[in-house]
Amino acid sequence: MAEIHLKNIAHSYTATPTTPEDYALKALDHVWEDGGAYALLGPSGCGKTTLLNIISGLLTPSKGQVLFGDEDVTTRDTAHRNIAQVFQFPVIYDTMTVRGNLEFPLKNRGLNQTAIDARVEEIAAMLGLTERLQERASNLSADAKQIISLGRGLVRSDVNAILFDEPLTVIDPHKKWELRSKLKELHRQFGFTMVYVTHDQTEALTFADKVVVMYEGEVVQIGTPEELFETPAHTFVGYFIGSPGMNILRATVEGRTATIGKSKIPLSIDYGILGSSGIEIGIRPEFLKLTEGDMATVNAVEDLGRHKIVRLTFEGHNIAALLPECENVPTGSVGLAFDPARTLVYADSHLTKGAN
């Protein structure tokens, strides 16, 4: 195992890129720590698959180097990078048994049969496949096949990294829980470097120690789930993480007050005077409380079981607030209480701390 250093890389699918828009992946310098669990999260077209393909060796970046430990592997193909990959759909040999499939990557590495058996049985036990080792793979359901694909990815203990590309797409929701916690347990036990690509925020946030959020070819924030939730560095992160996403409202900010239409919102720090264009405030639905008053109008309430989403109109904006399961929902006009410590200010989409 080794740390992976993406050194000043960038990638364009056009032969002679001229403008920043020509780059599917904009300039990036990042070290994936040895043994870290990372998720690459973003909407389709954000560049996350490009980034994964650069790590795996399917793509050579137009600029920069890929280092595994001290070794430069930039021009090496996938087979010579010593990595394991798990894809969106099962990749297994239908003619082999479950055992045969799990053994295959180890046999290729020339391990002796005793070591192979021990390892295969360990992985099979972990994935609940022990009883099925002798079954022929072709008879299994799609999600059982995908579990074997996961097993094949995890079976080698000498890989530099394991790369997962949306591995749980074909799995039933109930099973997803189980497999996600299994992957997490496996990561804890074996300390592989894992990179997991997904567009699903729950999957990314629950799997990873560090989440890399991508937007339009750029990494907009790398952080723990807590950091992404509490202090999004970019309005896109605020919108994309959280369900519903952060309420982002155009405002003017002076000192400790934000003004939206006729409403004044208190802020926790003194921002001085911020330029009048491109200033927005962001508050998560979780930190917006409904009170008595007539600042906003309730449009709809969605009962999600463990909490309710209240949809409101406030100064011409559509916003959302979250209420606990047992709380009653007011109708018509309501007041809004913004938690000052949780009300953030953005200038040209980037988080700003103002003067202090």
Partner: protein
């Protein structure tokens, strides 16, 4: 009354039952959700409704008219699948207009309708492009627009959002019930995800192994499942459960010596209790509570919430709680259950109502 009625529908393939004795009624003006895991029979049921598969026995009717033997072509239906299906060689405009052209509408009318629907689905700027030039979310909007424009009697949606990005799904989930509410069509939407079903609201039909296990208004079915199977089907994360004994107004979990005050109205005896992940608490609630020692298996943190998977009383449970709680694997904790949050199931699996 305009409604789709299914009367004792059974479908068998090679003697294997795919649907067993399905009777149900789907009304227009309500968003009808079919919820169940894969292989529960949702797609088969939709195909029977569409006329793509014939029932082995039973009948179905729309507007009180028997539909059972009517071929697909003669039925007024729109079907949207998980995979985006559009005509690749036609522009987005022509894709949406195609059902109206087939029906032989006047050109001006067709264009007015197409433009209105395109506006509703925010695809107006793409009307002159080809479907394959669009993102997945936009392609599925085109397929949905074609289903909407048709104003079919019956609109069938089979996991239409499953292949879309998370955020797009969130937006379309909020929009879809509103879009279809005003059409007068009978709308049936199949999903495997309990959370999606809750967001869509409306009327829910729970399915399991080819049978209907419960139906009713979505929030009611969520809070008052008729039996353990229905409660399990409609829980994500999975329902936590354990055996319990009720005696003289006290509830005690199997494997624990200490009990607490039971909710009123429950007879003495053995029960299976079920409680959802957000009702397994890390802090002691104010009222009566059962305290259970648990060992942390894994903690998953989303930033706003923590999913804490634990082993307790020989069961695997999940607690879902607000905030960030990074418990380490192997750590021993005490978790609390308020009996007032619990669902009680008798030995036959049926839910027993507490007062």
């Amino acid at each position: 009354m305009v409604a789709l009625e299914l009367d004792h529908i059974t479908v068998k393939a090679n003697d294997e039952p795919w649907l067993t004795d399905v009777s149900a009624r789907f009304e227009p003006g309500v968003f009808n959700v079919l919820l169940g895991p894969t292989l529960a029979g949702k797609t088969t049921l939709l195909r029977v409704m569409a006329g793509l598969d014939a029932p082995t026995s039973g009948a179905l009717s729309l507007h009180g008219k028997d539909l059972t033997g009517v071929p697909v072509k003669k039925r007024s239906i729109a079907f949207v699948y998980q995979q985006f299906i559009n005509y690749p060689s036609l522009s987005v405009y022509d894709n949406i207009a195609s059902p109206l052209k087939v029906a032989g509408g006047a050109k001006a009318q067709i264009s007015a309708r197409v433009e209105k629907i395109a506006e509703l689905l925010s695809i107006t700027p793409m009307l002159n492009r080809k479907p394959l030039e669009l993102s997945g979310g936009q392609q599925q909007r085109v397929a949905l627009a074609r289903a909407l424009v048709k104003e079919a009697d019956l609109v069938l949606l089979d996991e239409p959002l499953a292949n879309l990005d998370y955020k797009l799904r969130e937006e379309l989930r909020a929009e879809l019930p509103k879009l279809f509410a005003e059409t007068g069509s009978v709308v049936v939407y199949a999903t495997t995800e309990p959370e999606e079903a809750l967001m869509l609201g409306g009327h829910i039909t729970l399915m399991h192994e080819g049978r209907i296990i419960q139906d009713g208004p979505t929030p009611n079915v969520y809070r008052e499942p008729e039996n353990l199977l229905a409660a399990r089907t409609f829980s994500d994360p999975p329902l936590n459960s354990v055996g319990a004994h009720m005696k003289a107004g006290e509830i005690r979990l199997v494997g624990l010596t200490e009990g607490t005050k039971a909710p009123a109205g429950l007879a003495d005896g053995a029960y299976q209790i079920g409680f959802r992940a957000h009702h397994l608490r890390i802090n002691k609630p104010a009222g009566p509570a059962l305290a259970v020692k648990a060992k942390i298996a894994v903690t998953e943190i989303t930033g706003s919430e923590s999913f804490i998977h634990v082993d307790a009383l020989s069961e695997r449970w999940t607690a879902l709680t607000h905030g960030v709680h990074p418990y380490a694997a192997g750590e021993q904790v005490i978790l609390y259950i308020d009996p007032g949050d619990c669902l009680f199931f008798g030995p036959d699996g049926k839910r027993v109502e507490a007062r």
